[in-house]
């Protein structure tokens, strides 16, 4: 695909917009792409699709610079070509007859929720969004999510919005919900799982990947129902029912 733009939108967090036919193949919010960032690296790197614009054949991802690959990615410029494989995986299912949902994003995990918010909004679902970040410098996409509904921000250090984590925020603000969609660090997803065992929800999880298509069994995760075989995050996920997987 061709890079349309690649901008730092918060400290070490970038928004990358890509153009190519691949954008038209995306089926669900929550799917991901697998990028061969540089031939210096051996493996591809998976990133959630954050926004899709099929008429312009564009998609966007948000990424955080955490290692060599994302560092190289951050140095790419508009006009550069980049080897992208996808779209991959199963995204967030849209449930009929739901009037209101809660999106809970942690850190860079806000990415796949954004396209989801857009789609839910289009279906006239009321979207409440809770986003948690380490600190003010890491806050992204607040105003973007506000387009589609109410947005609450929590920061661990209290430098912006609510001081604390997303669950403390939900509890404190007494936000009620029947359906939850979430993506974020493992610890956060685990806490959500424990807290809301009775509630219907979906989470997008991460695991180290090689193939990204279900062929190598690198990205296994265990189902709660021990009689079932392992899931493959890349093929059977990355989105799972909140209480179906062991996180």
């Amino acid at each position: 695909m061709i890079i349309i733009s690649n901008q730092e939108i918060a400290s070490d967090i970038y928004e990358l917009t890509l153009q190519g036919e691949l954008a038209c193949l995306i089926k669900e919010a929550g799917q991901f792409i697998n990028i061969l960032i540089s031939d210096k690296l051996f493996l591809r790197r998976p990133f959630s699709i954050c926004a899709v614009n099929k008429s312009q054949k564009q998609l966007a991802i948000l990424y955080q610079v955490v290692g060599e690959g994302t560092k190289i990615l951050a140095s790419k410029k508009a006009g550069d070509k980049i080897d992208v494989f996808g779209p991959l995986g199963k995204g967030f299912p849209l449930i009929d007859n739901v009037q209101e949902v809660l999106l809970v994003g942690g850190g860079i995990g806000v990415a796949p929720l954004y396209e989801l918010a857009k789609q839910l909004h289009k279906r006239n679902v009321k979207v409440n969004t809770v986003l948690g970040f380490a600190s003010k410098a890491k806050v992204v996409y607040e105003s973007e999510f506000q387009r589609y509904g109410e947005v609450y921000i929590a920061t661990i250090d209290g430098s912006y919005g609510f001081r604390g984590n997303v669950i403390e925020l939900i509890e404190t603000k007494k936000i009620s919900f029947k359906l939850i969609y979430s993506c974020g660090p493992k610890a956060m997803l685990k806490a959500l799982q424990e807290k809301y065992q009775h509630i219907k929800g979906y989470v997008s999880i991460e695991e180290r990947m090689a193939c990204g298509i279900g062929a190598c069994y690198g990205c296994s995760c265990k189902p709660k129902d021990m009689s079932l075989p392992n899931f493959r995050v890349c093929k059977d996920g990355p989105v799972f029912e909140l209480n179906e997987v062991i996180i």
Binding site: L36, F42, E207, G214, C216, Y217
Partner: protein
């Protein structure tokens, strides 16, 4: 010009996805027609279902990767029922990679697969570095490799390819042992054992600590082993380890491979097998060959 015959395998071309890098074919069948492949090797199959090692199971290294999958597979009964039956619809030689924790398990799994009549050959994986109770221990002692191969040979009529571990002092000794025990071919090489530490946590990146190293990093080691084993056995070799393109295929075949396995390259470029197959004829011509068979062992001529 790419056609080849190996024991039990009528290959349209020498390109065979390597075990563990292609599942049981389903995922790649969504990307391209599997019938264009020379053959297909399945993920390792054990008697019972296995869940493999804890994650992370994948780590990147310089021009390579470590994996510690640990033989995750649905068990031989499931494999026959759901995977091999599904594969039947392709006109493609199927090689099933067999693993186990005991010689008995190898024999039993092999027998069940043979009985299913769904496959063309077995590849005995005596070289998996990722499980404590199996795999590699059978591949590092010539005597055990011999006994294992012989035990399967006596009970099973399918062509047997034995996949050897490169983590040994003397690969020739082991290759000769499995030949003597009745192997029809040798697959070379499985992964080298490696480790990566996470500088932040101080701990191994892989939950299993160690993993198998594959990719271009290991190619020179693989070429050397294929070259030496070719000089010392009379059965054909399926060569693998780091192949990324058609030129690498040629290098392995020069060294003595009759066909090649494409492993981790499938992860980087999911279309690598069809691409190599498409490029091979021209490459052969460029180097003055009329037929792929001329290339086998060319370095020794």
């Amino acid at each position: 010009m790419l056609k080849l015959k190996l024991p039990g395998l009528n290959l349209k071309n020498p390109i065979i996805p390597a075990s563990g890098c292609f599942g049981f074919g389903k995922e790649f069948s969504e990307l391209y027609d599997l019938n264009i492949l020379g053959a297909l090797t399945t993920k390792a199959v054990t008697k019972l279902e296995r869940n493999g090692n804890p994650t992370p199971r994948i780590a990147e290294t310089d021009r390579g990767m470590l994996n510690s999958i640990g033989l995750q597979n649905p068990g031989v009964d499931n494999v026959i029922k759901n995977e091999l039956s599904w594969l039947k619809k392709f006109k493609l030689p199927i090689i099933v990679n067999v693993a186990g924790s005991s010689i008995e398990e190898y024999v039993e799994v092999s027998k069940l697969i043979a009985k299913s009549n769904l496959v063309n050959a077995l590849e005995l994986n005596i070289s998996c570095p990722n499980v404590k109770d199996g795999g590699i221990i059978f591949g590092t002692e010539a005597k055990i490799a011999y006994n294992l191969t012989k035990a399967v040979r006596e009970k099973v009529d399918l062509p047997l390819y034995v996949k050897l571990s490169p983590n040994v002092s003397n690969i020739i000794e082991i290759a000769k042992a499995v030949e003597l025990a009745g192997a029809d071919g040798i697959s070379l090489i499985n992964t080298l054992i490696g480790m990566r530490l996470d500088l932040k946590t101080g701990k191994p990146v892989l939950a299993n600590k160690i993993g198998g190293l594959s990719g271009p990093a290991i190619k020179p080691i693989a070429i050397k082993m294929v070259y030496e084993v070719y000089q010392n056995v009379d059965i054909p070799i399926i060569g693998m380890g780091g192949i990324q393109n058609a030129a690498d295929v040629l290098e392995f075949m020069y060294a003595g491979a009759s066909a090649v396995g494409i492993g981790s390259a499938n992860f980087i470029n999911p279309y690598i097998c069809p691409e190599i197959i498409a490029e091979l004829p021209q490459l052969l011509k460029d180097y003055g060959f009329n037929d792929i068979k001329e290339v086998i062992g060319y370095a020794h001529k």
